[in-house]
């Protein structure tokens, strides 16, 4: 069986080192699901779909060789991919809030809609992505260096933010950020359904290799989206994870 492939139809610079690539791919994908993208000869990495309509997209930040090669793709190039994989976000039922840190906004992007509100955090102004996708006044920005919006991290902002109007809260970002958001939400009385899209090293994407596991669950199959109640039972969340060899490190 060969990989499926799609041809890149458009590319957009979203922020520092972050690009969106559009392509046609005849698969039904739900927001929160991901694909494994293969760069022949180089490697394969998991990427969320930042657009799940008929035209699909990935939004990618260059970290290492594979992600870099993908950001360098141009229209006409082939993307080899398999998927979609994983359990998607549940659908919102009222006014809902997206909390995104860094390139974590990529997986939240398909959740943008008329009833969406957002807190977008980044190190600096140039790292902010997708803030223009929201209606003015519904998006709150925080930067570590204060170059735009609130100066400080997500949780600093969240502490003073009223959550009572939301029926759902969706969170995606670096694990340290998600862990502090988790603790903040647990310390408050929150009635919304809260879901986190986690990240772990992924080698297989299909529930065999165990490299993405957390608390006995495979992120690639049982996640990457988990409810806050599920996180309660995961001793590893925010505390430790396995590196490439399987060695456990503390976060």
């Amino acid at each position: 069986m060969s990989y499926e492939y799609a041809t890149v139809s458009g590319v957009k610079e979203e922020g520092r080192g972050v690009r969106t690539l559009w392509f046609q791919w005849e698969r039904k994908v739900e927001p929160g699901q991901f694909v494994m993208v293969w760069v022949p000869g180089l490697g394969e990495i998991p990427l969320s779909l930042s657009s799940t309509d008929h035209t699909k997209s990935i939004t990618i930040k260059s970290f290492g060789p594979v992600s870099e090669a993908i950001t360098r793709m141009s229209p006409g190039d082939r993307i080899y991919l398999r998927g979609p994989y994983g359990r998607p976000f549940t659908r919102p039922t009222g006014q809902y809030l997206l909390i995104g840190g860094g390139s974590g906004m990529a997986s939240l992007r398909p959740m943008v809609g008329p009833r969406a509100h957002a807190i977008i955090s980044a190190r600096s102004k140039d790292d902010l992505i997708f803030r223009d996708a929201f209606q003015p006044g519904r998006v709150h920005v925080t930067t570590d260096d204060g170059s735009e919006g609130f100066k400080g991290n997500t949780v600093d902002f969240l502490r003073t933010f009223d959550l009572s109007g939301f029926t759902e809260i969706y969170v995606c970002g670096p694990e340290r950020m998600m862990f502090s958001v988790y603790r903040e939400l647990r310390s408050r009385q929150v009635n919304a359904r809260v879901e986190f899209s986690l990240e772990r090293l992924m080698k297989c994407g299909i529930g065999l290799c165990d490299s993405c596991s957390i608390g006995g669950y495979q992120l690639c199959r049982d996640g990457p989206v988990f409810s806050i109640d599920e996180l309660d039972r995961m001793e590893e969340f925010g505390r430790s994870r396995l590196v490439e060899s399987g060695r456990r490190i503390t976060l």
Partner: protein, 301 residues
């Protein structure tokens, strides 16, 4: 009439014949714990060596029409780091079997001793990984080396020792005989195989070739168990392509005492253990078998 699913292999008592195979959902202690709590009677750890190894870079697995290709490359944290994962997995109160690999008998012995100190109930010698040079099937296809490794590990072990063999040999029975000092054999590891992406014009695995598992190799595994069982009397754990109760029964009918399941967790997740157990029990009741022992080897006549 009720069917009793418990079994015993080389002195290891198992509440049912289904164990988790080495290398699948057993890098992280919490995963083994969940698999055991989902119905597996024992878990074999992923194969652990003396030093930390990252394995190959992805793609390390590739799903095929009726099987799975993999070349993980024996990624493992090294024996010292792995003790903690076993500790977590042992919370299930079920046997953990420590799988180990090394290039020679000295390495195997050191690993076996350390594994025992972590409280494993048995040792599984991986003499059969088809895609890493210098270990695995390069060791496992040399009868002299196999004999030395098995004897060396036996001499330092107080728990049962299993030798896991490769189907990628001309004469499996010869290797099985060389391994006969082990308390049991595990048959089979993956079949050396490869796939190419015809549009990318490249092998799909970063390592080029790898090992084939899943339904495609079940008839090979059945043949291997049959062949060895006909030739010698030694406990056998059957593995390769099991995805339903029929496959379990087939392995038992050619003489396996227990089985392991790996690739089938792909489509079905750890829930596969309880669903197979349920159907296995139903089958045994329908066909009038009161216990696993009554099915064992019935197809050998």
């Amino acid at each position: 009439m009720f069917a009793d699913l418990s079994t015993e292999v080389a002195g290891l008592r198992l509440e049912n014949p289904l164990m988790l195979a080495s290398g699948i959902l057993d890098e992280n202690g919490y995963s083994m714990l969940r698999v055991l709590r989902s119905g597996a009677s024992a878990a074999v750890t992923k194969s652990i060596g003396e030093e930390e190894r990252n394995g190959y870079r992805p793609p390390v697995v590739h799903p095929l029409q009726s099987g799975m290709l993999n070349a993980i490359g024996l990624a493992n944290p090294g024996i010292e780091e792995y003790g903690h994962e076993i500790e977590i997995a042992r919370r299930a109160g079920k046997p953990i079997i420590g799988s180990i690999f090394a290039p020679d008998e000295a390495g195997f012995s050191r690993l076996a001793e350390r594994m025992q100190s972590f409280g494993v109930s048995a040792i599984e010698l991986n003499l059969s990984c088809p895609h890493v040079k210098g270990v695995g099937s390069e060791v496992g296809s040399d009868p002299v080396l196999v004999k030395r490794v098995v004897q060396a590990v036996k001499s330092v072990s107080s728990v049962p020792v299993f030798a896991k063999l490769s189907p990628n040999v001309t004469d499996l029975v010869e290797i099985a005989r060389a391994a006969s000092d082990a308390d049991g054999l595990v048959l089979i590891n993956t079949v050396r195989a490869m796939a190419v992406d015809i549009r990318a014009r490249r092998p799909v695995l970063s390592n080029g070739f790898g090992g084939l598992s899943g339904p495609s190799i079940k008839p090979v595994g059945i043949r291997c168990v049959y062949e060895v069982r006909k030739a010698m009397d030694i406990p056998i754990v059957g593995v390769g392509g099991i995805s339903g109760f029929e496959d379990v029964v087939e392995y038992i009918m050619v003489g396996s005492d227990a089985v392991q399941i790996g690739t089938a967790l792909w489509r079905n997740g750890p829930g596969i253990f309880s669903s197979i157990l349920c159907e296995l029990e139903k089958f045994m009741e329908e066909e009038g078998y009161r216990g696993i022992g009554e099915m064992k080897g019935v197809a050998l006549q």
